[in-house]
Symmetry: C2
Subunit: 253 residues, 2 copies
C-alpha cells in the first residue's frame, strides 16, 4: 500500500542568545545551514515570540516604569509588582478579567491572554520583562523575506506564543503572527440533515502547527525555532487577522 | 553537530467504516501491521472520538428522541432541530452560554464545548448523530490494552476531538481522553525576580499532540488514527482528569 501520510517537526538548533538589533533571518539562516537542513518548498517555519521581542527591543527594565495609581492600588492588593501591572495595562486595549491577582486582557493586536503577554521569564535579568512584538505578522514577514534574501526557499513563518485558555488546565502554543499562509484551513464536509447545507469545518491550522512545534522547542524557549516539513503548505499572502474573532461573535467579552 | 531534535506524525490508513460493537484495537492493530508500522516504545497513538463513539454505540437516531418543552421552544426560536437540542441538554451537566442558536455547555466529563459534543457530521445518515464516549479515558485504556494483547508495544492513547475556543477563530484538536501518559508536562524554569520562586510552566502536552495529529487525520475524520513517533513519551498511568480546570479556578463559568 501507499506510504502513510506523514510529516515531521524538527528543531533548529544553535540559535545564540538574541539581543536588541539582531537580524533573526541571519541567525536562522546560519543555524539552518549549520545543521544541513535548508528550507524546502512546503515547509513552515515556527519562531517563538520571545526571540522576536528581544531582537526588536521589546525588553523593558522595570526600573524605567512608573506605575500609575490604578496599577499601584491593584498590585498592592494582590502582592504584584506595580510596575509590571502598569506595563500590562499599557499593553492592553481592554481588560477581560481582573481577579485573584491575574489580569486577562486583549492586546492591541486582538489576542486575549494573561498579562497582555508581558513576561518576566527567560529575559536573563531580574528586572527585565519582554513585551509582545508590536506587529507579530510584520515580524514574521521580515524573517520570511530575510530568509529568501539569503537564498532560502520561501516558506510561511508563524510566530508562536504560549497561552492558557478557559476550562482546560495547561498551556498550549498558538500563533500570534503569520506570514505566507492562510491561518484557517477549511474542510468542506457532508451535506447536512436537510440535504442542502454544505457544512464547512474551519481549522486553525497555524495554531495546530504552533502546538506541533512546541515539543521540540521545549525547555522554556531554549530552542526558539522549528521547522514543520511534509505538509506541503502552499505559500499564500495572509497575516494573522482571520484568527482574531470579531467582538460581535465573542461570547466571553 | 548533533542531529536536530525531531519527531514525526503519521496516519494509520485503511481503518474501515466503524460500526457498533467493532473492536477498535483489532482494527487499529490490523491497520498498523498492513502498513508495516508497528508501534514502538515512546510512540503516542491518537484516535478520533468519532470512531470510538460509533464502536461504542453512541450513535442516536433523532427519530428516537422526544424533545421536551424547553428544547422545543428554544429550537423553534433559533430554527434548530428540537430533538438535537434535547440531546445536547441530556449530554450537559451545565449550560455555559446559550445564545444565537449556539449551546456551549459542560459535559459530564467536564469538557466545555459546543453542543456538548453532539455531532451530526460524518455519521452516514441524515437523522443520525453521535454523542461523546461516556468515559473517553476508559475508551483510550481499552484500545491501549487491546493493542498490547495483540502484541503491540504499550504506548499512551489519546482520544481527540475538535473544539472551538473563545476569542480565536478556527477549531483545534484537543484531547478528551487519555490513557498511559501524564496530560500535563511541567517545565521548571528560571528563578523569578525575587530570586527564590521557581517558576513552573505546565504545558497541555496531550492537547498539543492531538493538534499535531490533526493535519494527517484531516478530511473530516477520513483518517481516524495517527501515530506520534520520536518524542519518547514515557508510559505512566494517568487519565484526562488533570486537564479539567476545577470550577473554583474557572473565570468563565
Amino acid at each position: 500500500m501507499a506510504a502513510p501520510s506523514e510529516y515531521r517537526v524538527f528543531a533548529v538548533g544553535g540559535i545564540p542568545e538574541v539581543a536588541d538589533g539582531d537580524d533573526l533571518a541571519e541567525l536562522i539562516d546560519v543555524a539552518l545551514r549549520a545543521q544541513e537542513t535548508p528550507l524546502e518548498p512546503g515547509d513552515v517555519l515556527v519562531v517563538t515570540q520571545k526571540i522576536i521581542s528581544k531582537a526588536e527591543g521589546r525588553v523593558i527594565t522595570l526600573d524605567d516604569v512608573t506605575a500609575g495609581q490604578f496599577a499601584t492600588v491593584w498590585a498592592d492588593e494582590w502582592e504584584r509588582d506595580p510596575r509590571a501591572v502598569e506595563l500590562v495595562l499599557q499593553e492592553s486595549k481592554r481588560i477581560v478579567r481582573m481577579t485573584r491577582g491575574l489580569i486577562l486582557s486583549e492586546t492591541r493586536e486582538g489576542w486575549v491572554c494573561a498579562n497582555a503577554g508581558v513576561d518576566q521569564s527567560n529575559v536573563g535579568g531580574g528586572d527585565a520583562v519582554t513585551l509582545l512584538p508590536v506587529d507579530s505578522s510584520a515580524s514574521a514577514r521580515r524573517i520570511r523575506e530575510g530568509l529568501v534574501a539569503r537564498g532560502q526557499v520561501d516558506v510561511p513563518v508563524i510566530v508562536s506564543d504560549t497561552f492558557g485558555r478557559p476550562w482546560r488546565n495547561g498551556l498550549m502554543n498558538v500563533a500570534i503572527g503569520v506570514s505566507g499562509m492562510n491561518p484557517i484551513r477549511s474542510y468542506v464536509g457532508e451535506v447536512d440533515a436537510e440535504g442542502y447545507d454544505l457544512r464547512v469545518t474551519e481549522m486553525a491550522i497555524v495554531d495546530e502547527l504552533a502546538s506541533a512545534a512546541e515539543p521540540v522547542m521545549n525547555k522554556l524557549d531554549a530552542v526558539p525555532v522549528a521547522v514543520v516539513r511534509g505538509l506541503n503548505i502552499p505559500v499564500e499572502e495572509h497575516d494573522h487577522s482571520a484568527l482574531v474573532r470579531p467582538a460581535e461573535m465573542d461570547l466571553f467579552r
